[in-house]
Symmetry: C2
Subunit: 167 residues, 2 copies
């Protein structure tokens, strides 16, 4: 069964100096507005996620909640290894199990951080990461995963965009 995988970067967040703990930084008002516009554009183009996984950091959780609020997907869970410097193998293992319990084309969204998301996309498509993808805040990457087998080095890239081109 084929999987469309979307990697979505959190929106614009509050300054680091205002939050002693980086994990607590929320989206700014501008960040919320821009992220909501991106989410609505994705929804209006027919996208629907069977599952949304998010980094546990506040700015990512708030971004994921916006995706859910506009109707892009009902099922939303935090996933610790989507935090900065998380291990791709942890969520790829989760994905391999998840896909076995589904019986049609499936669509999964991961909400997280740079440079991880860009590196993960490069690993999925080319098998190695060189920080060659520019992924702005609230930007989106879309990948086609092969029907079976480990997706690393075997996937296709069909979308890479910043909010600028979507909204």
């Amino acid at each position: 069964m084929t999987i469309e995988l979307y990697l979505i970067r959190h929106g614009i967040a509050a300054d680091r100096e205002d939050y002693p703990n980086d994990e607590d930084r929320p989206l700014t008002s501008k960040g919320r507005k821009k992220t909501t516009k991106v989410a609505k554009q994705l929804r209006d183009r027919g996208l629907h996620f069977d599952h949304i996984l998010t980094s546990p950091l506040v700015r990512a959780r708030e971004t994921a909640a916006i995706l859910q609020d506009v109707g892009l997907g009902e099922q939303l869970d935090e996933f610790p290894s989507l935090a900065p410097n998380g291990d791709i193998n942890t969520w790829v293992s989760w994905l391999q199990e998840w896909r076995q319990n589904r019986n049609r084309e499936s669509c999964l969204a991961l909400v997280g951080h740079q440079p991880d998301l860009g590196n993960w996309a490069e690993l999925l498509v080319w098998g190695e990461a060189g920080e060659k993808l520019v992924l702005k805040k609230a930007g989106v990457i879309g990948l086609n995963l092969k029907e079976t087998g480990v997706p690393l080095g075997q996937s296709e890239l069909f979308l890479l965009t910043s909010p600028k081109w979507l909204i």
Copy 2:
């Protein structure tokens, strides 16, 4: 001087069986409409090309003319090696000379065909091509080229999109 390079695939063209010579196939009515919508969206987001080069095939020339007609760029030339199976080194040599005569950030568009455009993007970013990029008709790739030196394996990808996400 930095260069933004856009690789744009021709729009939907007439069926092969209706044209004994593949090079003569024009855009269909639907192809013209969709390509015009894409071009207007690019223009409305502030894009302007300092130069547009196109494959000499009819479907590419018609696509390039649409870009020019909506005001995306005034200077338009045919470039033989943008035809199918063209050699990347020919137009990269042209580009290296072109950039030397410019004194600010420049923006170049190439209108051509698949799988060449996707392969060229992969060569520019990763140094090798594996047909891992999905580029639909009237789809767009955006690349940042380094300020100096040969761009192969040294460029960044910031945009890959089909008309679906733009219009």
